[in-house]
Assembly symmetry: C2
Homo-oligomer: 125 residues x 2
DNA sequence: CAGTATCCGACACGATACTG
DNA sequence: CAGTATCGTGTCGGATACTG
């Protein structure tokens, strides 16, 4: 899967970390180890956040694992039992992401007000 | 400009903050006020970061301004002279973003190694 | 349970050209 | 200088269906 516009590797990492589901997964995993479906449900349970499709959750987990941020532990049993957790590196990243998410939450009202004011100013013109 | 998949307002804010050019603009503006073309050149001068098209820089600045993070000061002279700076809110956000960008830079090697190892493991199978 | 495969439409982004 | 307008393409993300 080629990326037409050349991106430096840091950019790619940031994109994985701050992607729509990446943020949520990282924050959930800060609480501890989770299984695949557990993660799906935990995310679906959050407010004003939709559902992750299996595809997107898989994709998200995949890139985070590849970047060495998430550890995937698949136990050889049937039915399958797979646990996801943060690596040390991933933990560091997740803390940053959580801080950013918190900041955004705390200032949500302020940003929304700014948007309304900006749009109101434009509407008159 | 409708977004088909419903996004909560925080998500939108995070997307503006962490967008490809958003990150770069915010970091540059932490150094102080900049003009439009100045910003373009400053970004183009950075390593392994491509060029911003005028359109994308304009769009980026626009959404940041709308969110109340960037202040646009257009002096009524000819030729036009416009200065962009961070608001207090934007300064707080930019500090977070810079921290994230720095973390990503510092751990770039580690992430790249993880990627190579992951891919190598997959290749053999 | 824990995924993968395939299809499809929306839209983000870049290139180019034009303007006050 | 500081943008906006338009157009074309490729990617992302969702829906759906299938598998070990």
């Amino acid at each position: 899967m080629p990326v037409s516009t050349p991106l430096c590797p840091q950019r790619l990492t940031i994109e994985h970390l701050t992607s729509r589901w990446g943020v949520l997964v990282l924050i959930r995993l800060l609480e501890g180890t989770h299984r695949f479906t557990e993660l799906r449900r935990a995310i679906a349970a959050m407010e004003s956040v939709g559902e992750v499709t299996e595809k997107m959750l898989g994709q998200t987990l995949h890139s985070l694992e590849r970047d060495g941020l998430v550890h995937r532990d698949a136990k050889p049993v049937v039915p399958p039992h797979v646990e996801y957790s943060l690596t040390d590196l991933g933990h560091e990243a997740a803390v940053q992401i959580r801080a950013l998410a918190r900041w955004t939450d705390e200032h949500r009202e302020r940003v929304e007000r700014a948007r309304r004011e900006y749009d109101a100013g434009r509407a008159g013109v």
